[in-house]
Symmetry: C2
Subunit: 144 residues, 2 copies
């Protein structure tokens, strides 16, 4: 379980440093998205020295290499999520409790084709994210 993270890092061409692994493990233990500062506060206890910039840098690098996912949030802060689903899919994120659910498929390929036909443009990336309140939050009457 830890070694699979080492492997994932190696495959992404990144050194498997203790702090990098700890960040991955911390994210792995959550079913919701987390902010760099939250992860930093959590991990600080396990390292005598751990800089907040290190957490920012690693999260960005991990997202860049596709190991983790960046969550787009209305408050415009950075959040990250570790999803094991390697198929192309998207996320429903709860704005109340931060839970993340997978939503399979999307019609991006067809839409990219529309752009290609329309203007000859090239789609480099896409953002498809559903925001809302998850079932358990709704049932518990949590604030939105």
């Amino acid at each position: 379980m830890e070694h699979q993270h080492v492997t994932a890092l190696k495959e992404a061409g990144m050194k498997a440093t203790p702090k990098r692994l700890a960040i991955l493990e911390a994210l792995n233990g959550l079913s919701c998205y987390a902010s760099p500062e939250e992860l930093w506060k959590q991990l600080r206890a396990r390292f005598d020295r751990l800089g907040l910039p290190t957490v920012y840098r690693n999260l960005e690098e991990l997202a860049e290499s596709g190991v983790i996912t960046k969550v787009i949030h209305p408050n415009r802060q950075l959040y990250y999520y570790f999803c094991h689903n390697r198929d192309h899919h998207h996320h429903f994120v709860c704005l109340s409790c931060r839970k993340v659910e997978d939503v399979p498929s999307c019609g991006i390929e067809a839409m990219a084709e529309v752009v290609q036909q329309q203007s000859g443009g090239r789609v480099l990336s896409h953002i498809l994210q559903l925001n809302g309140v998850c079932g358990s939050c709704l049932r518990s009457g949590a604030p939105q």
Copy 2:
């Protein structure tokens, strides 16, 4: 053409102030997204006094009321775009020249249904945006 902006503002429950109208007109004259500061610099020439916070506030209110659209950008800065298409649709935004193209339709309704079935969650909003380089940028060899 100016009066239609007055009407749009009234319908959104907003006072039709000169500065608000000027912001709308400035955005209306562009086929691409713009930042608050860019609009401020452009409009400063036409008003002896115009605060940058006023531009920020108005753009946010206009986006909130649905008159204009917010663009999600990888550099995490705020950009806005004035689109006249009132049907539900999404945007392909060029990361090079900032041009915006409409992309009709999306399968959000079906995906919202998946979320409903999966966990009983409620989808409050969604983000669907295609990022890339438009046809004319590609042909001109513009930097990405």
